[in-house]
Amino acid sequence: MRWIAFSAAIVLAAGAALVAQTSGGDDVILKAMKDEMQRSKELRVVGGGQDAPYFFSYGLTDSDNLRINASLGSVVSVSNIHVRFPTVEVRVGDYDFDNTNHLFSGYYSGSRYDGNWPLDDNYAALRESFWLATDRAYKAALESMGRKRATLNSSSAQSERLPDFSKADPVVSLPKVTHKKVDEAGWTKRIAQLSAVFNAYPEVLTSQVELQAIDGITYLVNSEGTAIRYPDRVSWVAARAEGQAPDGMYVRDALSIQSLDIDQLPSEAEMRKAMTELGEHVRALVNAPRGEGVSGPTLFEPEAAAQLLAQLVGDNLRVPRKPMTDPGRNINFVPSEFETRMGGRILPDWFDVSDDPTQTMWNGKPLIGNYSFDIEGVPPKPVTVIEKGSLKALLTTRQPIRGFPASNGHARLTGSFGARAAAIGNLFVKANQTVPLVDLKQRLIQLCQDRGKEYGMLVRKLDFPFSAGAGELQSLAQASQQSGGSARPVSPPLLVYRVYTDGREELVRGLRFRGVSSRSLRDILAASQETALFDFVNNGAPLAMMNAGGYLAPAAVVAPGLLFDEIEFDVPQDQLPRPAIVPPPNAGQ
């Protein structure tokens, strides 16, 4: 159900602070939306079928998307486009029982005539587009509803049926929002210069630095009376460098630095330093020994712990509903690991976890998981999700889930079967017993000595958001299932070290986790006083894979370092490609 069409399909769920209120009456887009929605209500009278539409929602993001790629000091591509991305929703039936949450919800077998949206503020052209999109959404809704009724007729009665859609209070917030001027020439030069850093590393075979600056204005109007307009921005600089060890194994490091405001991205000097570290890491990995399958005490430094918790806690806080379907039909559906664990223990009892998208700063650093409205137009509420280690609440959208009938404003990503998907904003993982990080490392060594182990493991950085391709993701998912883990793979470590009993750290390459899932969190022994803020641009793809997924939900995780009693690692037994026969042309420089 997810579609991957990059530039044409960007909707963010970020929002910076809102500025002065205005009437919004001067806005052609808003007027076209409101007027056509008003007219669409006639479908209640003139539409076909037994099910009348009860809910309309029109969204439109008007976005300037700048994307610059460079490699080895040279610009590879620049694209600067203006796009309008609509979301038109029509629900038939009523809040209790509508066209969503069926395997074929959202599926439409007819032709589409609403492909291209006008970029000018042309009132008549915009209304025409909303008209055709509404017509299609309505027909799709009728089709889904027909299938859903047919399913009910052929299934035995379910004991419990949840309502399909929850009510939400209407919100009107129409501040004036304008696009920001981005210095394309300046950024092109800067990205090219940053990419030149890798010229100094002949060990790096391929490298790329990319800027994406997304400057959107999102409009949302629904038939319940909500009318909002807000800035929808995020920018990031991502880099990836890959080398090949003497035995042929590919090794890589990647980074992504993001901000809701392009002018708040770190200085060029700071980014250059980050690129240099990337080059150094790849050089070290090329020369590092190949890791071995091992199981033992493992220390995650704060940033790696935050990356791990974004996946094991953050992703699982979104509990999608399994759609209705004909008896006997298989659904490719990955449930949340938390689905059946409400009230159960997720973490040791000295942990509390909350998600709070209303926070803007943490220790003087901006939190990019801050937003004013989710994509259903609901303002987010802070949620204490884990209290004393036990699961207390989930992140919700307007699709009710068992025990959570209302939205807490976390619909941030495109979902499946006619619903939106919940995602974290700012996730705060708080340990109530902590020790300094140095003591945590001592404890790791102590554990190894007690168990007669030669070394323990230290994880400094995970490959999250995932920087490899879809093929590697697939083999990771397969390995995860085959090793008895969950259907949800965990990002492999990028920087993982053996810690010998004398305190010496040795970088190893090629390791991935085996059987790590949210259940592993119960094996946490201790947490550090030091905490890290890790942020990323969540896009709904598995492992938030870079440049995949349509929607963007910037997110932050604050977490301490974590010492695990036992984590399992293994090395993929793949045939390795032969290294390049001729050395790189810049090797002698």
Binding site: V46, S111, L132
Partner: protein, 197 residues
Amino acid sequence: MKARRLPLVENGTLKTFLMSRSPIQGFPQSNGHGRRAPGYEVVSRQSNLFVESSKKVSDAELRKMLVEEIKKQGKPYGLYFDQVSSGYTTTARRGLQAFTVVPLVVYRVYPDGRPDELIRGVDIVGTPLASFGKILATSDHMQVFNGYCGAESGDVPVSAIAPALLVSEIEIQRKQSSQDRPPYLSRPSDFRAEIRR
């Protein structure tokens, strides 16, 4: 290889093929027709294809011949293809050696002098040799069609220069039709909100 003019069919007989540097039996050399779109494989492709005829008549004469042919065959009407958007063919050995042409503007021509009638929803289908054998005459002036032709080579720009053709028999098929229901509400620009049921 340098491009060059190449006579392919002389007096209706096939003489040679368009060749790239990939040889086929009996044709070991390129004749400068290896083409491709950037990033694709080189394949032998056409460039400017000229079709000339020695049996030429004026447009008016050609139309007269069409009407006569309709009467001779006892058909209720003939067809006049004014514009064609595209066409395709399969050339793989395992495929059907047939072609489809997708016309844009087609008229029925009646033998009784009624005005021509615009029709929709037909495609031309056929097999190359059978169709070419049924050409009765051509017009006396050529027209240029510029377009893109796609294959393993990607799309390459091509031209075809040909006169109008009178064909004694052609096979057409109905286009795939849609069951789509027209929009429930009228266009917003009508503002009268007429109801279509």
